[in-house]
């Protein structure tokens, strides 16, 4: 793990007591005692951008505080490699994608280079997403336990890509998915661990009204006008065009504004293209703001979510959709597509509203903008739901349990 990543996120585990209670932290310490000194090597493809890097940057220091020797490394790859892995990503999400033999060759070649060059030394190798999946080829030599952590919605994967990856996935000791629908018929054990948000991070901590106002002023947003906000990377799978279409339907009857804000990720070369298309589509539509937020602008994202009247996440495919948990944590009413891991966060009509189309999203937005009491109740329930199920402390606990479960076959383990 890069030193600056360690120093950047140095919340003490005890700081979470005020949110989740001392007994929860005590339980984490109890589990940590059973894993003291265990070496866990996390490997993914980027240190910044996207949910995986964000979660690892927070979880690894906390694991260390619990006495576990957790580390984080990334594989190396050139543009050609990341073009291919982006295609894999889309294909695993079920999008039509041409994968040529050359693409597979590029993937294999870069992976081999990483296999040869990477320093691997751990008791548990925790490999995140498809990019480093081939590292498992060193399992016979290194021994230890190998886990493949899939953060992607693979409920309907492109079969060619899945079959290609599956030959490596089967060599792992276990796979971890974010939602039940992502599970596959595999000869190895599969666990379900949802991702999480960190309530103490800049993206989720409490902000003063002055801080929120400053961000709104910076981007020229009118705080008096109801605000629909979608925060996500500029990616076709987040359906930013569908968001604009839904907004147009809502705006016919309700005065409001739309903020489409997002950034880019180093392992996603498609972002710039999508951003251009979004800007082109929104051109000339009043009250639509497209904001390219630079990396590290977590406070700004936090402020936009807190300023929102309704938060929207109209993804076509979604690994999990942490922006929803972020919004729910801020007690915001959320309208989201019923895809991927979103239904785990949005229990329809209890913690938010689910939609299946542009029309559905528009209808739900209108309902929430016109019924502040309903919106407030959903937001309140949503915060409780996140507190109980999607905070980093729950995530940490399940990773600890996973490391323990790897050494036990039975359903009930006595420590």
């Amino acid at each position: 793990m890069e030193p600056d990543m360690i120093s950047q996120y140095n919340n003490k585990i005890e700081e979470y007591q005020a949110i989740v209670g001392k007994n929860v932290i005590d339980e984490l310490k109890l589990l940590g005692n059973h894993l003291t000194g265990k070496r866990i090597q996390n490997i993914n493809s980027t240190f910044s951008g996207g949910g995986v890097a964000e979660i690892l940057s927070r979880l690894v220091p906390l694991l260390n505080q619990l006495g576990i020797d957790a580390r984080w490394d990334v594989i190396q790859g050139d543009d050609a490699f990341f073009d291919v892995t982006k295609k894999f990503h889309n294909a695993l999400h079920g999008r039509d994608q041409d994968i040529s033999d050359d693409d597979l060759e590029t993937f294999i070649e870069t992976s081999r280079k990483n296999i040869d060059e990477m320093r691997l030394n751990a008791d548990v190798y925790f490999i995140h997403d498809p990019q480093p999946v081939m590292l498992v080829s060193r399992k016979p030599e290194l021994q230890g336990k190998w886990i493949w952590r899939c953060h992607i919605d693979v409920s309907h994967p492109n079969q060619r890509v899945w079959e290609f990856l599956n030959q490596y996935v089967c060599k792992y000791d276990a796979a971890v998915f974010s939602a039940p629908a992502f599970s596959q018929q595999l000869p190895i054990r599969q666990f379900m661990i949802s991702p999480s948000i960190d309530p103490l991070s800049d993206k989720n901590k409490e902000l003063s009204s002055g801080q929120i106002e400053a961000v709104l002023n910076k981007y020229g947003l009118d705080p008096a006008k109801p605000m629909i906000v979608q925060i996500s990377r500029f990616d076709y799978l987040k359906d930013p065009i569908g968001v604009i279409e839904a907004f147009e339907m809502v705006r016919r009857g309700i005065e409001c504004q739309l903020i489409l804000a997002g950034g880019t990720a180093t392992d996603d070369p498609e972002c710039a293209e999508v951003l251009d298309k979004v800007r082109e589509r929104s051109d000339g539509i009043p009250d639509v703001k497209v904001l390219l937020i630079p990396p590290g602008s977590d406070i700004e994202i936090n402020a936009l979510q807190r300023a929102a009247t309704v938060v929207l996440q109209k993804s076509l495919k979604e690994g999990f959709g942490l922006t929803i948990s972020e919004a729910l944590w801020k007690s915001k009413p959320v309208v989201a597509s019923a895809v991927g891991g979103i239904p785990l966060q949005i229990i329809n009509k209890f913690t938010g509203l689910l939609s299946h189309s542009v029309d559905g999203a528009a209808y739900a937005l209108k309902q929430l903008l016109s019924n502040p009491d309903l919106a407030s109740q959903l937001g309140k329930n949503g915060r409780e739901h996140v507190k109980q199920n999607f905070l980093i402390t729950r995530h940490l606990k399940e990773y600890l349990l996973l490391f323990i479960a790897l050494d036990h076959e039975s359903d009930i383990i006595y420590l």
Binding site: G21, K22, N23, V24, D26, E27, L30, L31, H34, S155, H156, F177, P180, A181, S183, Q184, Q185, L186, R189, Q190, F191, M192, I193, I347, F350, N381, E384, H385, Q388, N389, K397, E398, L401, L402, I404, A405, D411, I412, I413, Y414, L415
Partner: protein
């Protein structure tokens, strides 16, 4: 020299004889006086008799020797200035011996008397050291006055030293004063169960004038300075309750969801997978919502009922599945059989089985439980209820749900312990009769706490 002695022997012999006479008188007086004093003290039954007699016997004779020396000096032919100096030295030695005797005597007597104070235990060493220092200071002042030394700088020096000592041992002094206050108030005794507003709680095992020791429910000893104790709000629950024959050890159970990769698209799939499913699958789908949806009231029904309703539009079957009384079963196998038979009966009555809407397949998961001992133990109902307030929902869940059904103990752990180890049958029955599936875990916690509080009031 010998010639001089021969010529002046009488000048030397008289003072020596006087000194010797005083010594002899001293020995005689000590014998007579101490015999009488001892008899008197024996009659009085005073506990310090031995200390007083043994400590003062030596100095008593020594003082006669000093008196003899003083008298001998007076009749000696020594020059006046030598006589004055010698008198001053003898008087100083007398003062020092008096102070020395007082120090030893008070220390010994204090040791006897302080040992008799059981609770709170006085800080013996602190008191005896304090008395010793005070006596020494008194001696120094008397001597300084006697020798005509200027007292002001000495007093200033002493005041400064006292001030430094007070500042340095400020906390100790505050603790001792607080200990005095606690002792005088008699609100807390050893053996009481107390709870401080800062969170510390447990049985008081030891009280001194400086600190109070509490044995916490996690078996750790907490040392609370008396000064903190008087500043906090303290709830004293009083004497220990009936002790259990066996302590209750609290465990917690943390669960990890394992995906089976199996799914159902219609009722036939659902039944087929369920028939072959391990207990952990049945357990997961009939229990996980209790933990995950704590904030929803009423809580959702089991996963099977929800799925056939939402995804198959089989509303009647959903109601039948939701109405299965999980509480009535003592094994997951029996519960699984009941679920399967309800679905099969429905399918027999309604042969046109529907296919799932859209992509809402039923995905089978199972629950991996990791059972971890916590540091908390309870040996009576007071300790039990205090631990119950602080344990996690996972721990409560383990003792109420998991033990009863998954571990097939037929009852929750709390009731078993109350019945078998502490003889509280009524309380055990009340908790046993609580149907956990119709209330939240937090509501159950409140119910159990309220009932125990009522019982031990």
């Amino acid at each position: 020299m010998i010639d001089w002695i021969k010529e002046n022997w009488i000048i030397l012999a008289v003072p020596a004889a006087v000194f010797l006479a005083f010594c002899i008188v001293g020995l005689w007086a000590r014998r007579v006086l101490y015999n009488r004093l001892d008899k008197l003290l024996v009659k009085s039954g005073w506990g310090g008799r031995e200390v007083l007699v043994q400590t003062t016997r030596g100095p008593f004779f020594f003082w006669f020797m000093l008196l003899g020396a003083f008298a001998a000096l007076k009749i000696s032919p020594l020059p006046a200035e030598v006589q004055v100096l010698s008198e001053k030295i003898i008087t100083s030695v007398f003062i020092i011996s008096i102070i020395w005797l007082l120090i030893i005597l008070t220390n010994r007597l204090l040791t006897i008397y302080l040992a008799e104070i059981k609770s709170p235990k006085p800080p013996g060493k602190f008191v005896t050291t304090g008395v010793r220092v005070a006596m020494l200071l008194l001696g120094v002042l008397i001597l300084a006055d006697y020798w005509g030394w200027p007292l002001t700088p000495v007093i200033l020096l002493l005041a400064a030293a006292i001030l430094v000592a007070v500042v340095a041992s400020r906390d100790t002094i505050l603790n001792i004063f607080s200990g005095f206050e606690i002792a005088a108030a008699r609100n807390i005794k050893e053996g009481d169960f107390i709870k401080l507003s800062s969170g510390e709680e447990g049985y008081v095992t030891d009280m001194t004038w400086r600190t109070l020791k509490i044995k916490a429910t996690d078996q750790h000893t907490i040392i609370v300075p008396n000064n903190k104790l008087v500043r906090e709000t303290v709830i004293n629950y009083g004497r220990p309750l009936k002790r259990a024959s066996k302590p209750f050890h609290f465990y917690t159970r943390l669960h990890l969801k394992e995906l089976t990769g199996l799914k159902a698209r219609n009722l036939t799939d659902l039944v087929n997978v369920l028939k072959a499913a391990p207990d952990s699958v049945t357990y997961y789908h009939t229990h996980h919502f209790l933990e995950e949806h704590q904030f929803l009231t009423p809580e959702p029904a089991n996963d099977f009922a929800l799925w056939v309703d939402d995804s198959l539009d089989e509303h009647v079957l959903s109601e039948k599945l939701a109405n299965i009384d999980t509480f009535a079963y003592f094994s997951l196998d029996a519960l699984n059989s009941m679920i399967v038979s309800v679905i099969e009966q429905y399918m027999a009555d309604n042969p046109a089985s529907r296919l799932v809407k859209g992509e809402n397949d039923f995905h089978f998961l199972k629950s991996n439980s990791v059972v971890v001992p916590t540091p908390y133990f309870a040996l009576d109902l007071r300790e039990f209820v205090e631990v119950l307030r602080r344990i996690t929902m996972d721990s409560l869940y383990y003792h109420i749900f998991e033990s009863r059904l998954r571990l097939q103990k037929r009852s929750n752990d709390f009731s078993v312990w109350m019945r078998d180890s502490i003889g509280e049958h009524d309380l055990a029955d009340k908790i046993d009769n609580l149907v956990p599936y119709t209330s939240t875990i937090e509501a159950m916690r409140s119910f159990i706490i309220q009932n125990i509080e009522k019982r031990i009031k």
